[in-house]
Amino acid sequence: MHADLSFEQAPPISVPLRFFLSAPLFGVVAGALLCWWGADVPTSRWLGETLALTHLLVAGFMLQAMTGALFQFLPVAAGCNIARPLRVARVVHPMLLAAVLLLAFGLASNVAIALRSAAALFLFAVAIVVVAAGRALLRTPAQGATALALRLAVGGLAVTVLLGAALADGLAGQRSWPLADLTSIHVAWGLGGWALTLLAGVSYFVVPMFQLTPPYPPRLSRWLPLLLLAVLLAWSLQLVAPIPQQLVLVCGLALAGAFAAITLWLQQRRRRRIGDPVFWFFRFAMCCLLAAALLGIALAALPAAVDGPRVSWLLGVLLIPGVFVSVINGMLYKIVPFISWLELQRLASPGTPVPNVHEMLPGSAMRGQMGVHFLAVASLLTASIWPAAATLAGAAFAISSAWLGVNVSRAALRFVRARDRIGASEPSRQS
């Protein structure tokens, strides 16, 4: 008989669920604030309000969902597990919630104590995640492209948060860091070293499985995260020496664009004409990533335009709500019903009826929310040329995020009810 511990070691379902259920709340807050603040926000990436909104998405929405995914994904994709996952989650989750709220408040209102407290909380919480996940990833014998990308992504998260803490320290007036250079390196590590590397590692696993595509080309899978790392290291050298910035930027954007193009190409070659929301969220995200890469490369030839507020807003919208929030939407719709259904299968005796995955989260609810999300991203893009659209965009984004939260919460509620029914009919099987 085989021993397969990978899924047996999967964390209790409450571990990832707490992160998945929290993530949409930050989208609601960010959307509502954009609606409130309106047309000023798209005019500069350096406004406190713009920085606050950005961090509600990247350190709130994205970090919550991606941390939850890390807990859930390590056993399945890399054959390892975070030790004592429940204890780690109970410490990390509230700290990250408090940290991002303090950070957003500190950035929007320029309150030094809030910035310093947020930095301390982020450093502590992310250190726990990095040590716990890093330890598991270094011990696993898995050597595939997914395991490699996950290792590099966890390292990327550590660098991002260290740089972010230094920036918060600088903004709080503690030290005189070169803030502009540090910011561009922080952004590159956050979006490239952490988010894109994790997205690549997860995609190698889930795109062929959930979208019935051929596998990613093995050479690309292996080299993409390594080349991204090389680009990020080169980009970081600007702190200590002059570098050919445009060339390094173009290399990084070309790698991101290649990943998007290959994913779109694989989707075209899927074995069955599927078109569920997960597929469309991924497709939309990859189109945004390809557009951002092409736009960035085109603008690299016109350096004066790169720092223009419209271009910064456009690139930011394409990358953050366009790519990462979209993919997370799709992944939440796949993961939450799936792990809920699986847990019920684990609890129920053979023959005991368990709601199927489609009953956990109906397709109509997902499709409706997906439409609002696409409208929100389109409105956010429009705000780059017509800032007054920011109010509508904020409202649409808040509604989309709230709808996502309701959909995911309903699936979790259906799970709890089904679990309680099983518990009532088979008390001895409850663990």
Partner: protein, 76 residues
């Protein structure tokens, strides 16, 4: 008797749902052959818990063949 579930062109967790439904009808001496594109790690925990034996074989094209029997018959 052998029942075959070809899950290679099905969206997860459809192959798993079909397998669990088929397990309910599996009688002694029968076996269930699954054809999948990936290793069904979640299934193995359920099989172990409910007392089934299984044998897995990786194919050259990257797919997997999983043969399942009731534990009273013995390992396939």
């Amino acid at each position: 008797m052998r029942r075959v579930i070809d899950g290679r062109n099905l969206l997860p967790p459809e192959p798993l749902e079909l397998t669990l439904a088929a397990l309910d009808q599996l009688t002694e001496g029968d076996d269930l052959l699954l054809l999948l594109n990936c290793r069904p790690a979640p299934l193995f925990g359920i099989l172990r818990r409910h007392g089934y034996f299984w044998h897995e074989r990786a194919q050259d094209d990257g797919s997997f063949e999983i043969t399942i029997r009731k534990s009273t018959v013995g390992e396939p």
